[in-house]
Symmetry: C3
């Protein structure tokens, strides 16, 4: 699961976050006044990051009004809503390749950068931190399996093209739809497993915090913020190409690094916060869980929805750098999750590998 | 080791299996009468599956008449005889590419589908099942090493073709023979390790069951069933191409899914049976051991024998989907074997990945 | 760390090693007299192996005159000096591709052959040997991360060539320089981690052995041997191409197998010695540490230095066999290091995989 039922009891940051909501009218005003695209992009992307954090809080509050199974479902359903809405609007603007870049970037962003920063944040003031390796181990096995499923269509496509089969496009899409359905079935199994048959092993011990918000307020915040994210995502996707041209970078780099971090910033923030409080099991669970949810839910849902759009997105991640980045991430996470403890150096390694991948995507250059 | 010295005490299934032997005369009659190929194919393939189970039982009984080292050798020697004989006849009919498909399919069939179904079968009625992770860990390391050895010739071939070396065919075959010999030496080392120097760590505690069959009967069943499998394998390989055309699927898909499952069905059945009896160490050992034996024995033996045939089979698994499927399987098995316990969800994941691969092979389509 | 602060108390081998120093004047005489290249090559390569062992001993003695942090820095700085000097001279002779082969060969030479022989040497007379899996686990995670960083530029290059980008050469070099700097930063972090913040976890318990040599003698041996290695490396690189022609092998094979083993022989010798003394933690640490140092220090330093030479070496390991060999090695080491114990069969497996890779490189043939 990408989110947690634990409260981040941070009264002052709350005030900061409230004041950051001013980015929303600013970004809309900038867009209305046809301001320079870079300024508009920054304001809109910032708004989405702030709104994603508000959705995370609203979801936490909402979950406290429900029993454990429903609570888990609520956390899961709204855990990736920001990434999903952002990706949908970019997709609707005909930029399927940017969405693939965003998904790749979100996977490496949460698993390498997010987890790395969290481990660094927790490890700089502590000799070593421990976590439950049984839960992290299951999650990393799930991530490896999910990643294999994600890579399969690309290998298939490569095989088919090598053999000069004539009807590749057709079968690519059929295979993407088939693989998406298998991924969603596996995810359904994962829900049954973590929320029903083995619920106790995955229960967050501190789930029953204060209900600071009423049920209505919680629902209102989640629904309202999701609606506003949609508006901001529309602005972001409109100014995307021009922003890339202004910065002289590729839209791929913008998708892999910038959009990905905007969509996953709430998880990154939460993971670092828990790591600093020495709750590493939760921090790992957020980061790995977020990557799993991207592969098992967000991506197949996007493939299925896009099949009804003008620009269908296939599961074929054709860029070898994407495949390498995603596969490497799964193995690195598996290696880190195995031993049940973290030190600052492991955090540095994760951040270092992320920087290497970002370098690689940067050098692909405008094109 | 792909088989076990434990008896499956199933009196009634024995009767079912005895009656299934009627498939043998049926399949031969159908072939003689030039019946529709699909019917002939199903009857012959079914016969092979039944005969493989009888060989497994005969081998178990035979093993009880020997000391521990000879017993191990007997179990190992006849553990993959059905796959080997089937592959030999397909190879003799000039279908080397189908044999590569069958080997790939057997590896993923035992390790993903077989193990997945066994874990599901055992896990649906139990919260979690445990197994000895030290034995499974060694086996999965061995599988990874064996798989790397299996993939090497393909990478070599790709490298050589990329550099436009002129004598690729020649060196492909030489490298295949060299690599096959190294694989057999490693397997000899594995036998010395598990049967001599570290025998106690690998002994099946319940190996000394009843000797229901005499020595002569045991030998007769094993030799007789192997001979009949040869006859049935000849029929299957003769009607293979027409069956694929009738079903409008590729011979590759027929090899990867159907032939592979026919050859390994006895192991799949035994693994599920042991999993339901909560003997997961044995179930894992059968599935992973079967995959190891395919890579370390069956494949190199086929390469060496085929060097004297008209259609030599190289170790070059040229289809990238094969490489990806085999490599992924090794890593997934390693991830599952690491933690020493299984739950139904892990079984579902393994079956899910198998379905994804089968989907991929299906979409390659007739050609 | 590729070397250890422990003394190998081998008085008689010391005499053997002293007498082997006679190879130095022999090799120089042979070169001066224009003797057959093969003889000259063998004598020079042998000299480098002997000198590397003397540097290892000198470094050990030098380290005993320092406090723990400086000691660690000394061990690290001179641990790979033989490989580095040899590679530099081959590079200066315009043979960048041979240096890439040497680096690849050194990585698989220490991790597969060196570790395999050490495990065999220790395991033949013992049932099983144990080691600290926490230290080996961290090292193998570090190796996986380092290897991913090493492979990244090749994947990038492949992606860029696939897309027919026009300015590939330029960006290849820029990315190589960028990645090299990230690797060196990670290595700096590793030094801070093992020598400062978590020093106690990595301290070799027996580091405070006798100071047999004075500070001056220790420095003299290290500096003197390094200087002589430079002379011998110049000879080796001059006769390299002719030696390959005489032996009818490729310079790639000469680099991967012969030069690599010459450069890492001191580590191989030390690892086997410690394994026979049942100090497997140290043996693993030497082998894995040597591979890490090659990736994190030797390779980026060579890239940075070569940027000022006529024949710059990029981080693009273009040969798919290199990529496969390096990646496989990292995963195999990770699998072996995981369980905390070794038996002779694991050693045999590692040696077997090394032989397979050597076979592959041999069959690429002269070209």
């Amino acid at each position: 699961m990408s989110s947690s039922a634990n409260t981040i009891e941070t009264e002052k940051p709350s005030m900061v976050f409230t004041s950051l909501l001013v980015l929303i009218p600013i970004s809309m005003g900038l867009r209305y006044m046809q301001a320079p695209v870079l300024t508009t992009f920054v304001a809109s992307a910032g708004s989405i990051a702030v709104l994603a954090e508000w959705i995370r809080r609203g979801t936490e509050q909402l979950a406290r009004h429900a029993g454990p199974t429903i609570r888990g479902l609520v956390m899961v359903s709204f855990g990736s809503v920001a990434e999903l809405v952002l990706a949908l609007f970019v997709l609707a603007n005909g930029q399927a390749s940017v969405v693939q870049a965003q998904i790749t970037g979100s996977i490496i962003g949460t698993s390498l950068l997010g987890l790395g920063i969290a481990i660094l944040a927790g490890g700089l003031s502590r000799r070593r931190q421990t976590f439950s390796s049984s839960k992290a181990g299951l999650q990393s096995t799930l991530l490896i399996l999910a990643v294999i499923a994600l890579l399969l269509p690309a290998i298939f496509d490569y095989t088919a093209r090598q053999d000069h089969l004539h009807n590749v496009r057709l079968t690519d899409e059929e295979l993407s739809l088939g693989a998406s359905i298998v991924l969603l079935v596996l995810y359904g199994g994962n829900l049954a497993y973590t929320l029903i048959t083995h619920r106790d092993a995955f229960a967050d011990e501190e789930a029953n915090g204060d209900r600071s918000w009423s049920l209505g307020l919680s629902i209102g915040v989640v629904v309202g913020c999701t609606a506003v994210i949609a508006l901001e995502a529309e602005i972001v996707s409109e100014v995307l190409t021009q922003t890339a041209e202004t910065l002289r970078i590729s839209t791929v780099f913008l998708g892999v690094v910038v959009l990905a971090l905007v969509g996953t910033s709430a998880d990154l923030f939460a993971a670092s916060w828990f790591a600093r409080s020495d709750r590493m099991t939760l921090a790992l669970s957020i980061c790995i869980g977020s990557a799993i949810q991207l592969v098992l839910v967000v991506t197949p849902v996007l493939v299925l929805i896009s099949a009804f759009m003008d620009s269908p997105m296939s599961l074929v991640f054709g860029n070898p750098l994407y495949l390498f980045a995603i596969a490497s991430t799964a193995f690195i996470v598996s290696a880190v999750a195995r031993d049940g403890e973290t030190t600052w150096f492991e955090g540095l390694l994760l951040v270092g590998v992320y920087v290497l991948f970002a370098l690689g995507f940067f050098f692909i250059g405008p094109g």
